[in-house]
């Protein structure tokens, strides 16, 4: 499972997550979703530190975050 999962159909391409990401791994992709927005996408899942900032600022609740832990 991905660390950063972005629901592309919810994303409205506002760019707030991109402006806030401390490790700069989010970009606007070049494809369109069904509503005509270019959704955000994660370029490097392994760099994600799971800080949660993108999920906190996302106004469309499009981002869900997970992290693998050893059990």
């Amino acid at each position: 499972m991905e660390r950063v999962s972005i629901d592309e159909e919810r994303c409205k391409s506002c760019g707030l997550c991109i402006s806030i990401c401390p490790v700069k791994i989010l970009i606007i992709s070049d494809r369109l979703n069904a509503r005509g927005f270019r959704p955000a996408q994660c370029t490097d899942q392994d760099k994600c530190t799971s800080c949660g900032s993108c999920a906190l600022i996302c106004p469309d609740i499009a981002i869900e975050l997970h992290r693998e832990v050893k059990v």
């Binding site: 506002c14 707030l16 949660g52 600022i57 996302c58 469309d60 609740i61 975050l65 693998e68 059990v71």
Partner: protein
């Protein structure tokens, strides 16, 4: 050693999993999410009644898995008071914008606060009437250009912006009054903690609570969502300082 996926963030269960009608970058979505998260965390989903305003949030009832009603313009606090009086075991909150609460609904909010009935108000302050196209609201800043103040708001013609949180904090009725901002992750965390106190003030039966959220309106401010957040920090926060203006004993 096996690896397991731990949840850092997932959508709240009381969120109805729909795509909202809000413009890209509008902080209404953030405020909605905080409400949904708190309703989940405090276990209130079965007894919550939301009262929705007229304004951008008019369709808010569609987005949650709890019961909702729609109030006439500005009359949400009066309606919420009625619901709370007849259903004292339910959790009743209103969600209002600045055109709704501070303009046409000013009498209702002041008297609801003065009565001090335990209802919670989430007040979204974005400085204009977003839904109808960006007209001047009571919270529009001096000099701010809107469709009805094209040369900028002036005190001679339009009066001064109203600081609702400070004004209501003068009354004896409210238990908890705070102003928060939704412009950055740190302020969103603080906003959630203020909303939790406001929800608690009602759950514990202490009294009226209101949280004013400084929000953005990228479409009508004619800025990008990121520039709008910047404007909140640079122009709005100096006039509308953040903080808790009234906390009576027992609110936590």
């Amino acid at each position: 050693m096996a690896e397991q996926m731990k949840v850092i963030y997932e959508r709240p269960r009381s969120w109805a999993n729909k795509v909202t009608h809000y413009c890209p970058g509008c902080t209404h979505g953030v405020a909605h999410r905080l409400v949904a998260e708190l309703v989940d965390e405090m276990g209130l989903v079965d007894k919550t009644i939301g009262v929705w305003p007229v304004g951008c949030a008019v369709l808010g009832y569609d987005y949650f898995n709890f019961d909702s009603v729609e109030a006439a313009h500005g009359r949400a606090p009066a309606m919420a008071t009625g619901i709370k009086v007849t259903n004292p075991d339910n959790f009743v909150f209103t969600y209002q914008g600045d055109g709704d609460l501070a303009s046409i609904g000013m009498a209702e909010i002041v008297h609801a606060a003065a009565r001090g009935w335990p209802i919670t108000v989430i007040f979204i302050n974005n400085g204009n009437y977003g839904m109808t196209g960006g007209q001047m609201a009571p919270t529009t800043l001096l000099g701010q250009k809107t469709t009805t103040s094209p040369l900028g708001r002036t005190p001679q013609a339009n009066g001064f912006p109203i600081r609702v949180a400070e004004m209501l904090a003068q009354l004896d009725g409210p238990a908890y009054i705070a102003r928060v901002s939704l412009d950055s992750p740190v302020n969103i965390r603080k906003a959630k903690s203020a909303m939790r106190k406001a929800f608690n003030a009602q759950v514990r039966g202490i009294g009226f609570s209101l949280v004013e959220c400084l929000s953005t309106c990228p479409t009508n401010w004619k800025l990008t969502p990121v520039e709008s957040m910047e404007r909140v920090r640079k122009e709005v926060m100096p006039y509308f300082p953040l903080g808790e203006f009234k906390v009576v004993e027992g609110v936590l």
